[in-house]
Symmetry: C2
Subunit: 321 residues, 2 copies
Amino acid sequence: MTRRGEFELIAEVFRPLAEGDPLAFDLGDDAALVPVPPGNHLVVTTDAMAAGVHFTADTAAVDVGRKLLRVNLSDLAAMGAEPLAYTLTVALPRDLPDEWVEGFAQGLRADQTRYRVHLIGGDTIAAADLVLSMTMLGRVERDSELRRGGAQPGDTLYVSGTIGDAGIGLRATRGELPDLDPDARAFFLDRLLHPSPRLRLGRALVAVASAAIDVSDGLLADLGHLCEQSGVAATIRLDDVPISPHAAELGGDGMDRLSSGEDYELLFTAPTQQRDAIAGVAGRLGIAITAIGAIAEGVGVRVVDADGNAIAVERGGYTHF
Amino acid sequence: MTRRGEFELIAEVFRPLAEGDPLAFDLGDDAALVPVPPGNHLVVTTDAMAAGVHFTADTAAVDVGRKLLRVNLSDLAAMGAEPLAYTLTVALPRDLPDEWVEGFAQGLRADQTRYRVHLIGGDTIAAADLVLSMTMLGRVERDSELRRGGAQPGDTLYVSGTIGDAGIGLRATRGELPDLDPDARAFFLDRLLHPSPRLRLGRALVAVASAAIDVSDGLLADLGHLCEQSGVAATIRLDDVPISPHAAELGGDGMDRLSSGEDYELLFTAPTQQRDAIAGVAGRLGIAITAIGAIAEGVGVRVVDADGNAIAVERGGYTHF
């Protein structure tokens, strides 16, 4: 096992991720420059991951790189923003092999090409355990960003894709689902490790949605954030929450998936008259969009069954402490 | 010992650091917005600190907050940039008391007011040990930024303030200087814990300097970075390197201070005809600026004594691995 020095690590592993951007200065200056087009605001978000908390020791380094990039991009998607570039802090234990860092960078490289974003700076430090922090920069036309706080009573509540798959993937990695068939297992792990930041959807929703958030802590928790910021209440029709065919095969009462995190779908609201526009966006982008509830005056989130009867909600989403 | 939950910590401790900026959305949205004035580029830098590596367990939390902010601002200073806002990742051990986090935020608050910058976003995660990462955003008028790569043969080499004080402060914290008198000790610790980001100097140098870097790894190491980026060689006249009266009292051969890091002074180059302009900047800002050497064609950094004889250079600056 060899371990490069700090400057070699930057030069050999991270510098290639900045190639092609003259204003990143090959990561060789005190700071990088980012041009922001006239009429645009810069959009900034930061998300971090720690070994043993956000991923297990047996998670492939390449998947850690891909996921860190994608969860940050998901925050831009929820603002309707276009990605520009990112900075990265890697706190590395001294006994972490170079191969891990190379695998991590390989994951970043694969997805930064896919999502047209690149590294422009950061810091590499030694620490007792592995912590990775990314700050993602994007742009949005001034006053056109999607916010959490714009939902209005009477709006319809929508979600993209399917809900609960990443949570099932997490249970699978913990050995809780030993009887899962290989296809289903691969599907859930892919949803857990490679979430799809809904960037194109976010951009398309700029003109039609009243509020948006990405589902990271869990549908109930994130809807709670949206309602709190908007000063409204929401009702979810449990039977309408979209689930994947593989998840449907597993059965269950459906409440688990409301508090299952990390799906990174977009949860958003829109006035009822936007229904056709939203159907058009879904068709054009090939992304399932499902109406799952409604916004009302008041406070809090209710869940109802097919007959409109309230279902008791017992737990919220994920918190770190 | 109590410990707040993640959302309470953000709401009660960090949200006040974002107050007054409507585009930070009270840290309650997926991302923050930053307006960048027309004709400016965004400037981005990231610096991180870990407990046990960058500060010891007995460093006051308030000083950790102040230093993290100041070292990031120092990178903006070295680019000639004006600060705008910052994001913050805090990876917190579960047994870290709330009081630590509150002290840390108090340090941020004190200095963000002083330097007119504020928090706009970030992430709070649990981790096995304490890691703090900050991304600082600033702005600079397009094509006016200071770079490391602009030094030319014939340029004069300058440094601000005094060199080596922070390194002596570090030795004092390690108990290596038991005979230090209290005034001197207080001075060196202040230089170690509260470096002065040379923001006004950096802005003033935009029109006169050919290259600049901040002294974080050590004068020799950072001059090495500047020379490498500029494709030039440099000579330092050891006797001309400015030291503080307290450091002068300690004596020594002066070579130590060339590899002593964390002074966060600006090291810069300028054509000889800018000599009067630089003296004017020094006088106007009340900051000592000293000519300590010269740039030449070639590769590498030489140190010479008062007679111009080369002095052997044995060690470089600080690296993490």
